[in-house]
Symmetry: C2
Subunit: 428 residues, 2 copies
């Protein structure tokens, strides 16, 4: 039986998960694929801490290059994270002709093209299923199962931390800050939490998804990225009354030959499957022109779920299936539409002074900017106080929405900062 | 650029869908994979009818063997359906060394082993993603993405016709027969509808899923198969009041080294994602020991969705990736637990005479057969009439449930035939 020797860079949570799963299921994997996976070497700066898995001391090293350059190692698993050092290691491994498996979405989003080129040049595959949606085999679905499809759109709940926070805010009626602090205590959110809650992590993953569907090396600057920081529980309540749940959504879609992309908290109709994705789960809703609507759901992070995806990639590399670097470089690349020219429906929540023409003034500004109003909801009216009013707009161009928001903020009848979110109806 | 010549057997709905998708997206597929898919030949007894796609007349033949034996054809797509002739054709193609793509779950469920053996012998791959879940790439997920997992359980909504009927029964408050007739008129159900509504189609697909997860060539006689024929709208209402939706579910799970398998209408908690799978959509909920819970959702049938899966397989065959016949033959095969020894929770609906000890008599029979009652719901009580009473049991052995049902049916206080369904809580 063929054996494959795995070299792991980074013996953290996921690294230990990979080792554990291979120790438990290596035999089964060998039966299935005819290839026996073995841990060859593990590099980490800290080789003292007990990771809760049994590893012979002789396999551990503090020298990553001793793994990358070892001719006995067949495949490199990069689990260091971050961009700079990880990139050097991955490039070196690829140039050594070793296939590389990585879960590093930041690296792919920021230096993907360079890596894919090195991979094509040396013929060593680059595999990154674990970089999007944790254990969910969604990249494979795009590459293999849906290969005959033009992807019309993808809608992803891609960050478990944000989804966990939003779920608890809704279930328990809590505000953002309290839940975040609790999530950090429970290990569901990192400290600092910025990459997750500001939408950066979701955006990294969106870039990877877009590259597979559209061959496009989308830059992180090319689209709107907004997170859920400071979201008020009130928004969740109002959205619920209007039939929606708030999710941090990556929206990627092809419209007339251009890619529309954005990451922001969005109102999802309660009847849509994505609205039923709770807690730290992730899901990607993919529409293809042949297959129609599909959805992929599972844990988007965590020691074992991520290990599951890493192992799938290891076995693919071991079987000599080539990854998709070539695909990514040769695929027709669609241009990205500028944020200003994207049409979206909006939820606007304003605090209005309790005076007779307040709503009319806002409606006037919207109309002037070619924004039609779909619905208005005015909440509890206590004389003399500020009145929360929610407007749902029809589709309008981002540039018009932005101009209107600016004007609305300056209106005398408006207090404080208006809240604006996208409404996603999953239509065309 | 490498070209692949496709030979299609059966130019029906799906065959035409495959041709259409390849005409539309062949170029894109070539960019992605480096392989250009071309229709080489199409065999069908009827080569006159217009299928709504443009095909040169010279490609059409009424002689399947002229396709199967043509050395210029690289891959055979079997879309004839049925078991006997399809099997002869598939075996002949495999023995000719040609990879075969099929959507034929009946063939796989009833003659799978023979086909896999022929495939391994000749080295020609057998591909069948389209046989389960239509366009959903769930078999690939099991084989590739989740290769590092022991599959703990799979729960599938695998028949679009049944799910469509159940959805309309619930939404519109209609009874089974009316919706079935309407579904037949609209093309959502076949005539005769037996394979679908009696659970056979779902069972065929369950056999394919089990073979991938457990290497087990499960015989169709080895497990309980019940469909939704004659289901009363009343059951849907009662289930709803108790917090459940009724779905025709294939349940496949490993319990202590044995496979538990069954196909029957089951109560699914409303909060579970599977309860939100509506209309003719399919979904498979898969739990792996490494990845945890995952779900795959999409259209389970239809011209284009099925074509999407067929095309994914064609491109895999073209790339020389070997399919999974070896996997299926070499995988450790778990034994199937006898239906009598499976533990399930039950929904029982009885029509009881309105007499004081009626419920007590039923409860006594249940208790005698070691079945604990979890809940009792008695509906509207009009003196002198039969009273519908619903019992929800705790987990009990099938043999005890069957014995109890027999006794309960003979009780004087029970009128008519009791209704019994499984309750699925997705626990251990």
């Amino acid at each position: 039986m063929k054996e494959i020797k795995i070299g792991i860079l980074g013996f953290g949570t996921v690294g230990a998960g990979v080792v554990e799963a291979i120790l438990n299921n290596g035999e089964l994997m060998a039966q299935r694929s005819g290839i026996f996976p073995k841990i060859g070497k593990i590099a980490d700066l800290d080789i003292k801490t007990d990771r809760g898995v049994k590893v012979e001391a002789s396999l551990l090293t503090t020298d990553a290059l001793a793994v990358i350059d070892d001719p006995a190692i067949d495949v490199i698993v990069e689990l260091i994270g971050g961009v700079k050092i990880a990139k050097d290691f991955v490039l070196r491994a690829l140039r050594n002709g070793k296939p590389v498996v990585t879960a590093n979405k930041a690296l792919l989003a920021e230096a993907g093209r360079e890596l894919f080129e090195a991979s094509v040049q040396s013929g060593a595959g680059l595999y990154f299923e674990a970089s999007v949606g944790g254990g969910i085999p969604v990249l494979r679905a795009l590459r293999d199962g849906l290969v005959g499809n033009r992807i019309k759109s993808m809608y992803g709940i891609l960050n478990g931390t944000c989804n966990y926070i939003l779920t608890r805010m809704e279930r328990e009626g809590l505000d953002f800050d309290g839940v975040l602090a609790d999530a950090q205590k429970l290990g569901y959110a990192e400290t600092p939490p910025d990459l997750d809650i500001d939408g950066i992590d979701t955006a990294h993953k969106a870039v990877v998804l877009a590259s597979l569907a559209y061959g496009a090396p989308v830059s992180m600057d090319a689209f709107t990225i907004e997170g859920i920081r400071g979201l008020s529980h009130r928004e969740i309540e109002y959205a619920a009354e209007l039939g929606y749940r708030i999710k941090l959504l990556a929206v990627i879609r092809e419209v007339n030959g251009e890619i529309e992309m954005r990451v922001e908290p969005s109102l999802v109709p309660k009847g849509h499957l994505l609205a039923s994705v709770h807690d730290s789960f992730n899901a990607v809703f993919v529409e293809g022109d042949v297959v129609g609507s599909t959805l992929y759901y599972g844990r988007g992070a965590g020691r074992l779920p991520t290990a599951s995806a890493v192992i799938g990639d290891i076995m693919e590399a071991a079987a000599g299936k080539g990854g998709c670097s070539e695909w990514l470089l040769k695929h027709e690349a669609l241009p990205v539409r500028g944020a200003n020219d994207i049409s979206i429906r909006c939820y606007l929540r304003l605090a209005l002074k309790d005076q007779p023409d307040a709503i009319a003034q806002v409606a006037h500004v919207l109309g002037k900017n070619k924004i039609s109003i779909g619905a208005v909801m005015q909440k509890e009216q206590n004389a003399g106080e500020q009145v929360p009013v929610v407007f749902l707009t029809h589709k309008a161009l981002e540039k018009n929405l932005a101009a209107a928001m600016e004007e609305i903020e300056r209106l005398d009848v408006v207090s404080g900062k208006p809240v604006r979110m996208a409404i996603e109806d999953f239509g065309g």
